[in-house]
Every structure is written in structure tokens, then in C-alpha cells.
């Protein structure tokens, strides 16, 4: 993956090629071994006037393989990984490049925020002026009401993710923050403050998924459970504001396919687009009981060296959130954890890892379970 951050001097293609060659190198493969490319990206049409990304990447690599783009808002990355898995299972391809990339920083924040509302319901939500901080703020307010938590629980998520991100060279904001800074930062959409919100970032992450034994010397990592579930795009049509059903379902199905339960997961990357989203994720995935994940975070249970390591990459908050790249980055981070190469934030001997990637306010969720056991 590239470093996530402001890359004013790099284009979408520059970032894509950087991540791609990084993945090929670590897989000890040349580009000619790639027989399909799945690209994950959300905003390229809207912000850059560039569609047709599959061919753009394939052609730029000098290849003529099957290549296409998938989109599911912020879940595009997790979806792209699933499509590669499906294609490998179907036996039609052997070495698939999965590339997630996003360029969002070249625009004013109001332009980018506007473009991001494509992930909401245009007629029922965006039309009335909602933005994503607003949607998740409503979820946070309801969660505060139902479970009697407050600002401090949200801040704990942000502080932890920055703690991890400070140990990740690729993070957009590799800097620790204090609880005080998080809790006194400016209000974005009450009760969400600046430090409750993931940033706007440029970046790319790439993986090579193969159906044969790996060439490289690194420990082999396999995807043993993959699931995508959906629910209404609009928040108002969901059954609950304090849980994301698509995440619950995708998680359950992935656990079944992998033959494990939430207790077996040693490390997870979850979709903390806003701090409240991490709290919901922990409960939706069964790591903590409903209403308790905030408190568990305050008790530091989700630090990399504690009982349930969450977002060792720094999450979306500290590592950054180039939308299309995030879901792929999550798999990159879990792979590094399972291979023992997550320097500075290495979980002790993990065997199973999980990625949880959400689109919009919970309309899509893609979950993958990875293992280094044979």
C-alpha cells in the first residue's frame, strides 16, 4: 500500500501503480502472472471525471486481462476482495490483483463531502441535505440514549486508533492524541467532534490473491470466510439505529464458512468511519455484548497487546480513509499481522484475523476471515 495522506503530486494512476508493484514484489510475482484485476473505487467518476478504471489499470500495466471495477461506497474494497475470492473458487483465474484506490484531496472539503453523499439515498436522504457526519451523529445520539454512554467512550476509540496509527508508517496521521484533545475538538455534527471523524485521504492498497501455493518466503495466509450482506441504503428504513444488520449477517455467514466463532478471532480491522461505527462493529461482530463495547474500549481491551486487538493499522481515523482503498488495506493489515510483520503493533501470535468493511451508514457490509493456519 502507499502511505495514506495528501498526495497532491500523485495521480490516481501513480498511486495505483505504486501499490500494485508493492504487492507484486512482496508476492515475488511479475505482472505477467496476473490474469484478472478487480479495482475498488468510489469517487473517481464524480471527482475526477474518470470511469473505466479496470481497463485503465490493466492497460497501464501493459496487460490485456479481464479487469473491472466494483463499487459499494466505502465497502468497495471488501467487495473487490470477495469478487476475487469468488473468481478463484470458480477456477477461471489463478492470480488476481485486487486494487483499491482513491484520490479525494484535490478538491475542496465541501466538494468531497458532497460527492460522498452518493453513498446515501439520493431521494430520501441527500436531497434533504444530510451528510455522513450527520447520519452517524444520529446513530450516535440514539446509542447514547439506549445505552447511557457519552463523549468519553467515543474519544477512547479515537485515542486508541491514533495510538496504533502512530506505530504505522503508512498512516495518514501517525500521531498519538490525548483524550482531552479528542473531547474538546470542534463539533462537526453533534455529538460527533473532529476527532470522531475519519479524514479525507488519498491512497492505494493492493493484494495478489492466488489459488496456488505462494512464491514468496512469507507465511502463507488464506481467506477462509467471505461474506457480503446488504440492508436499506437509507438510515430511516433500518430496523435499528444502534446496530448494522448487514454487518451482523455478513459476520455470521463468514464465521460459519470459516468454521469459527467470534471468540476465535485474534485481531480485527473494523470500519471506524466515525468512532461510533467502531463501537457498533464490535457488537455486531459479537466481540462484545450490546451496549458494552464503548466501556470495553475505555478499559483498553482493544489495544494491540490486549485481549481483543482492533484496528492495529490505526483504523480509518488515524491510518486514513481513501474510500476505495480502505477495504483492501484492511486485508493488507490483517495479512501483515498473521505473517508477523506488523512492526511496532504486532499482536502476539495471531491465527485468525477478520476484516469488516461498511458502505454508507450500513447498507453494505463485507467481512473476510483470514488465517495463517493450514
Amino acid at each position: 500500500m502507499t502511505k495514506f495522506g495528501e498526495h497532491f503530486e500523485k495521480s490516481l494512476l501513480d498511486l495505483s501503480l505504486e501499490a500494485t508493484f508493492g504487492a507484486l514484489t512482496s508476492a515475488s510475482l511479475t505482472k505477467d502472472t496476473i490474469d484478472a484485476i478487480v479495482v475498488s473505487n468510489m469517487l473517481s467518476d464524480t471527482l475526477s471525471g474518470q470511469g473505466h478504471l479496470g481497463a485503465l489499470i490493466s492497460g497501464s500495466l501493459g496487460l490485456t486481462v479481464e479487469a473491472f471495477r466494483v463499487e459499494g461506497a466505502c465497502a468497495s474494497g471488501g467487495i473487490a476482495v470477495k469478487k476475487a475470492v469468488d473468481m478463484l473458487k470458480a477456477g477461471t483465474h489463478k492470480n488476481i490483483l485486487v486494487l483499491g484506490v482513491e484520490k479525494m484531496c484535490d478538491h475542496s472539503s465541501s466538494e468531497t463531502t458532497q460527492a460522498l453523499t452518493n453513498a446515501s439515498d439520493a431521494e430520501k436522504e441527500a436531497f434533504y441535505g444530510i451528510t455522513f457526519p450527520g447520519l452517524y451523529a444520529m446513530m450516535a445520539r440514539r446509542y447514547f440514549y439506549e445505552y447511557q454512554i457519552g463523549q468519553a467512550e467515543l474519544a477512547a476509540v479515537s485515542v486508541k486508533n491514533h495510538y496504533h496509527g502512530a506505530r504505522n508508517k503508512k498512516a495518514h496521521f501517525p500521531k498519538e492524541i490525548s483524550e482531552k484533545v479528542a473531547m474538546t475538538s470542534s463539533k462537526i455534527a453533534d455529538p460527533l467532534r473532529l476527532f470522531d471523524c475519519s479524514p479525507i485521504s488519498d491512497g492505494a492498497a493492493a493484494l495478489v490473491l492466488s489459488s496456488h501455493e505462494p512464491q514468496s518466503q512469507r507465511k502463507p495466509v488464506r481467506i477462509v470466510g467471505s461474506s457480503i450482506a446488504t440492508d436499506s441504503v437509507s438510515l430511516q428504513e433500518r430496523k435499528s439505529l444502534t446496530s448494522i444488520k448487514a454487518a451482523e449477517l455478513a459476520g455470521k455467514r463468514a464465521y460459519i464458512e470459516a468454521g469459527i466463532s467470534s471468540n476465535d478471532v485474534d485481531v480485527a480491522e473494523v470500519h471506524d468511519c466515525f468512532t461510533i461505527a467502531e463501537i457498533l462493529a464490535l457488537e455486531d461482530l459479537g466481540f462484545f455484548k450490546r451496549g458494552t463495547a464503548g466501556y470495553a474500549t475505555m478499559q483498553k481491551k482493544t489495544y494491540y497487546d490486549q485481549e481483543m486487538p482492533i484496528n492495529t493499522s490505526g483504523g480509518l481515523k488515524s491510518c486514513g480513509h481513501p474510500v476505495g482503498a480502505t477495504g483492501v488495506k484492511q486485508v493488507v493489515e490483517i495479512t501483515e499481522q498473521l505473517q508477523g510483520t506488523a512492526e511496532g503493533r504486532q499482536v502476539d501470535n495471531p491465527q485468525y484475523g477478520l476484516t469488516h468493511n461498511v458502505g454508507g451508514s450500513g447498507a453494505t457490509c463485507a467481512v473476510h476471515i483470514l488465517t495463517n493456519t493450514l
Binding site: 495528501e6 497532491f8 503530486e9 484531496c105 475542496s108 472539503s109 470542534s186 463539533k187
Partner: protein
């Protein structure tokens, strides 16, 4: 032939509007904004003031301090991004009001906030080439702050003038060298018929301000084999209180070296007047032998670096009205009065 500063003058309008007052109108948290920008109030031009009147006031002070015969001014350049006319130079009106005569070189300058320092380079060159005995280089602005925009808190009014001449005249500081670092970087711009400028938000930082200030300053230091510790004072362009402090630290200058220059903390960003007012304030309390480094920045983008060595003659100059006197002479306006003064309402 050594060229140097013979005299200097400054002018800051007396009106002020606070960050708190502006933030209150837009429903923002004033304390947070003031903390982020290091600016709690800014200068506002009077109803009859503009770049021409400000440039004139500053120039008049420069001439009067040394009882200078305006007929010896052979070049005069006003640099601004708020010249009252798109066509008709501010410089000629200032020159006429000062009594400069007719035999002088002049034109108006624009390069965002570095038009004043560009004027200093041009005047220095006219003097070095012996085409001019002395010249006035002025940076002055009544900056346009779009209501509700982030820049509204810092877009201020003010200016400074430097009378530069050959060594036939007594110098209060010699001009040792100057360099420029320039590129095509659209971080901030105002179109031909636009009332307010546009800016590319965060893009005005790393690839713009910091890149050019670094570029010019390090080029200057390397070229002349100096390091930051060789200077007693340093001045950087001040779009807010945070940027000059950050760039000073990054380049290896200390807070002590920077502190005298920081007019921005009290009056905001006077655009073409910014680094020049910083220099004026440093000269107000400089000691003979002090070495001063100044790097301006203009969006679009470019930076000019100058270095000066203060002479014994500075002490005679340190009487009369100082930049601090202008800073402290103030009247506060409500947002409505401020809007009237800057032409938002008329």
C-alpha cells in the same frame, strides 16, 4: 557599491474587529479559531482609507524621519493585491502626494503578498545599476476577506515603505543580498472581476507557503554559506500566527529570533505589507551590527529572501512613532461597522 535602507515607515489603520465578533456572526467557536490561527483581532481600514492612502502614510513617515528631499527619490513601486484601480497605477498618486517630481521610474506591482518585497528587489536593482540614487519600495494592502470564509479572520489592512539608496546616503541597514524562489502554484487567486479571492484550503500550506519559504531561505543560506544562527532576527510572511512559527522551527530558527517580527498576532495578515511590517517592527528595536533575514511569500507562488546588516545609524532612527504605537492605537468595531468599512454593505 553598497546599497542599503536609508529610512523606513509604517502605517496601520486604527480600526479593529475581533475574531470573537466575526465568529459570533457565523456561529463559530471564537476561542478555537483564535487558538488555531494565533490571531484574536485584525486591522480594518477607515472609510476613506485604501492602498494608496496607506502607502502614502508609510512613505511619508520614511521621508520625514530623515528629512529626505523627495526630489531625490528616483524610483517608486507600490506592491499590493488591492490596488484601487485595475488600470491606473497607485504608485503615481503616492509619488505626486510625496512631491517626488516627474523624473522617476515607476509601475504598480502584483504578486499576492510578496508584491512589496518584489518592489524592494526592483528598487535595489535600480539603485545598484545607478539608474536611481534612491527609491521607495512600498507594500500595502486592504485585503479582501470574503464574509464567512476562513480568511475573513485574518485579511487585514496596513503597509510599510523602505527608502533604499546608494552609499552616497547614510544607511541604517545595508542590503547584503537577495534571492527569489518561484513556481506556478495556484494556491490562492482572485480573478479579473472577482471581488474576493479563492483559495485551495489546505493546499496553501505544504506545497505553497512552506515549499517556497523553504526554497528561498535555504537557497539563500547555501549560496552565502550561512546558517540560521548567524542571524539575530528573522521575519517570515505572516498569513496567520501559526505558519511563520512552524516554518521558523522547521528551518532551525528560534522563537527569540522570530518574536519581534510577529505583528500578525495583533493585527492579522496585511498581505503585501506583512513581511515588510515585520521588518519595520524588527528595525524599531534593532541594535547596530544585528543581522536580519527576511523571507516573504506571495501566492501563485514565490518567496523573496533578503538579508540586512544594521548599522550604527539605526539609533538615531529609533525615536518617533513605532509599529507598536500603530498597533496600540485602536478603536474596536462591531461586525456591522466592519462590514461598512470594507464594503460588504454600502
Amino acid at each position: 557599491m553598497k546599497i542599503g535602507i536609508i529610512s523606513y515607515g509604517a502605517y496601520i489603520p486604527k480600526y479593529r474587529v475581533t475574531t470573537e465578533e466575526i465568529a459570533g456572526v457565523w456561529g463559530k467557536n471564537a476561542e478555537e479559531i483564535a487558538r488555531g490561527l494565533f490571531v484574536s483581532e485584525k486591522s480594518v481600514p477607515g472609510l476613506d482609507e485604501d492602498t494608496i492612502t496607506i502607502a502614502h502614510e508609510a512613505s511619508r513617515q520614511a521621508l520625514d524621519r530623515v528629512a529626505f528631499n523627495p526630489r531625490h527619490v528616483d524610483a517608486l513601486f507600490v506592491g499590493s493585491e488591492s490596488h484601487p484601480y485595475a488600470v491606473k497605477p497607485s504608485s503615481v498618486t503616492v509619488a505626486k502626494a510625496l512631491g517626488v517630481g516627474t523624473d522617476y521610474y515607476t509601475a504598480d506591482l502584483e504578486f499576492a503578498c510578496k508584491a512589496g518585497s518584489a518592489g524592494m528587489q526592483i528598487v535595489s536593482s535600480f539603485v545598484s545599476s545607478k539608474k536611481a540614487r534612491t527609491g521607495l519600495a512600498i507594500g500595502a494592502d486592504t485585503a479582501q476577506g470574503k464574509p464567512g470564509d476562513a480568511l475573513e479572520y485574518t485579511a487585514a489592512a496596513g503597509g510599510a515603505a523602505f527608502l533604499i539608496g546608494s552609499d552616497d546616503y547614510e544607511h541604517i541597514a545595508t542590503i547584503d543580498d537577495y534571492v527569489s524562489y518561484t513556481s506556478d502554484t495556484p494556491d490562492f487567486w482572485r480573478s479579473k472581476h472577482g471581488k474576493y479571492p479563492h483559495h485551495a484550503e489546505r493546499f496553501t500550506g505544504k506545497p505553497a507557503y512552506f515549499k517556497h519559504i523553504f526554497g528561498a531561505t535555504t537557497y539563500y543560506l547555501e549560496k552565502n554559506n550561512y546558517s540560521p544562527s548567524d542571524f539575530d532576527s528573522v521575519i517570515f510572511h505572516m498569513p496567520n500566527g501559526k505558519f511563520p512559527r512552524t516554518v521558523a522551527r522547521a528551518l532551525g530558527f528560534t522563537e527569540d529570533q522570530l518574536s519581534d517580527s510577529l505583528v500578525v498576532d495583533f493585527i492579522g495578515n496585511t498581505y503585501s505589507g506583512s513581511s515588510l511590517l515585520g521588518l519595520a517592527r524588527v528595525l524599531d528595536s534593532a541594535k547596530p551590527g544585528d543581522r536580519i533575514l527576511m523571507t516573504s511569500y506571495g501566492s501563485g507562488s514565490g518567496s523573496d529572501t533578503f538579508s540586512f546588516t544594521v548599522t550604527d545609524a539605526i539609533e538615531k532612527m529609533q525615536t518617533g512613532v513605532t509599529v507598536n504605537d500603530y498597533i496600540e492605537d485602536k478603536i474596536y468595531l462591531s461586525y456591522g461597522e466592519y462590514a461598512k468599512h470594507v464594503g460588504t454593505v454600502n
